[in-house]
Symmetry: C2
Subunit: 452 residues, 2 copies
Amino acid sequence: MTDALETLKTSIKALVEVKKYATLRDILSTMNAADIASLLEDIDDQMVPLLYRLLPKELAADTFVEMEPDTQEMLIRGFSDSELKEVVDELYVDDAADLVEEMPANVVKRILMTADAEKRQMINNILKYPDDSAGSIMTTEFVELRPHMTVEDAILHIRRSGINKETINNCYVTSKDRRLIGVVTIRDLIMNESEQTMDQLMEDNIISVETITDQEEVAQMFSKYGFLAMPVVDTESRLVGIVTIDDVLDVLEEEATEDIEKMAAIVPADKPYLRQTTFDLWKSRIPWLMLLMISATFTGMIITSFENALAKFVILTAYIPMLMDTGGNSGGQSSATVIRALSLHDVEFSDLPRVIWKEMRVALLCGLTLAVCNFAKLLLFDRLAVPVALVICLTLVVTIFCAKVIGCTLPMIAHRIGFDPAVMASPFITTLVDAISLLVYFQFATRILGLS
Amino acid sequence: MTDALETLKTSIKALVEVKKYATLRDILSTMNAADIASLLEDIDDQMVPLLYRLLPKELAADTFVEMEPDTQEMLIRGFSDSELKEVVDELYVDDAADLVEEMPANVVKRILMTADAEKRQMINNILKYPDDSAGSIMTTEFVELRPHMTVEDAILHIRRSGINKETINNCYVTSKDRRLIGVVTIRDLIMNESEQTMDQLMEDNIISVETITDQEEVAQMFSKYGFLAMPVVDTESRLVGIVTIDDVLDVLEEEATEDIEKMAAIVPADKPYLRQTTFDLWKSRIPWLMLLMISATFTGMIITSFENALAKFVILTAYIPMLMDTGGNSGGQSSATVIRALSLHDVEFSDLPRVIWKEMRVALLCGLTLAVCNFAKLLLFDRLAVPVALVICLTLVVTIFCAKVIGCTLPMIAHRIGFDPAVMASPFITTLVDAISLLVYFQFATRILGLS
């Protein structure tokens, strides 16, 4: 699949060079918009407008939507007003709104001037909703039916108006005051007799979201209910738009990326990696590095306060990294598991006692397994004395126990008080567990080895 | 939304207690299958079969699909053969195959005995494909049309056969030998004149996957092309099934969970957290903990070999945790970013030089920022001598540099040689960076402070 695409890219580049435009047009017309867009991203910038103009009108608009903002901007700057109008007219209103959000002010002005009044109004309507809300990802182009319409009326209505709608698979039945009263699928229309009316056919137990609902919640509802589209209503239950499942796929990917970034102590960015500048990356990484570096001061202070003991028993220092890493890894496992379970709604705050109880048992099991193996290794390979090995292995068990309990508890508490649990992931837990493991280590050393 | 559901649960529990079955039936009939399922999961086990039997037949089957395997098994064990047949008959074949995979052998036997011969055949067909392949998530119930059919024929065909199909939104045109030759959407059928034929209407530039294509790749294609369904063909291009987008949502969630688990040094499990036993959790966590604990031996050996130097300059020990943690966090940031970019196909192996160059610059910028702040802190607060502070800060810069370069390179190399890049995440990088940071630390200490 991908290899075939690579071969195609090579041939197209060759054809551009020998100016075989008719052949190029024929090849491009058989291709899918997403593939053409990825081809245009790969090709020399100067050739892009030329290839783009070879595309049939509708395919051109579809391809335009799939391109990266940089390429879109370059193309728009080269467009005449009438070329721009052709593209904007073909765009679905949610894609047009996305475009307006990505472009610099002067380009936006040209786009809005080219759009007809109705479309401009619709674009502006979408833009007024907060980022990451259902309103900001919805489209206002949907099929709206009335309760008294028959199947025949409805199909006629769709044939007349459906061409500009993003989907006709779900149609929405509204009352005179635009309140949403039912949903009819295209399947219902096909499968039923032509004289049946919408109020007989429609599903009136409707699940909808509000314009301000968070997009992550919208995505969760899609995967819970298996919908292809979800109606969006305003505070007075009037239907204002629909969210379609293709936009939800993007939301799911975006949210998973955000979680992974937060869990790796990165402030999430909304651009793909290669499009971020060095400074962008620095900005999203330095805050947590700085904070965690400063927190590590405490670990240093703990070591300093046991400086004399360590000087007497330098061998203990050699096991500090192993203890700290194992503690960090154990805590990181628990926090990652719980953070993911929280974001999939597999676990709620009320499950906290169950979760802690489970983690405590897992911690003991893991701790004992590791301690036994480690004890054998310390005696047989490192040839340590039994009391020293005992100090190390007891610390291991206690550290893993604390790490797992903290690792599962902190994300759930964060979630409960309205913070993002993903922030309580491995790097944060590691810093905390480091301090704990050292304190435990020196306590055991003091008691068992008689250090002070 | 969720609160309303909670209130409803309370009322339903109350109604069960006073045995108001007619009222309960009325309430349940207005509810969505996914909501009823989540209600039944919450309620006392003994009441579940009772409530379930109140549901209308079709809603009962839909609800059954949404339930957890434990509850499904409990219900099946209570079903009479005819009740079981009712449910199995209503299930789509891909859901039936999922059920068969989850149930213990004796329950599976009953399910397959109850299913009619055709359905049993279809279930077995799906089960023969490897886990996580397109074949294992596809359904074999799709609308198949012939090229010579007119729109009118096609709609008639759908009305006759569509009731059992999972989707009618995409219909597939096949030749006599069942080769896939085109795709027609329901929109094409509605929007065109009734005498047009399928070969005139159909899109013949088809994107399809093979039965053995990995489900992750299938999901990526859905988000790239914005499809609602994807045809699945065998090695001879014969159409054998379709994957629908609702199954892709599950795949996307599952794959993101797997990535997060691998990145946190957990061997992925396919059960939700609360359904895993202590032993399950131990099994998925202990391998990496053990491996990483053993690898930490090297860090210990490095410290041991500088034991004498450390004894003379114990203060150096106090900064080991800070250096190791900052190195680990820096490397973890880079690896998490690159792993995610790889799985979204934002980055490919051929981008390696670009990625390394970017990370080198970010590393220098981050390293210098942290080193300058740290230097000030070491002199002003910790009151260290300039040479000691210099050793610590130079180590910081070099460690961050190595951590970021390793952090971005290892996942890309792993990806290239066919391993899962997610394994090269924070815990692994941390262990490696720990050793590097200590070696660098002791080198600088030896040179600048004259230790040996």
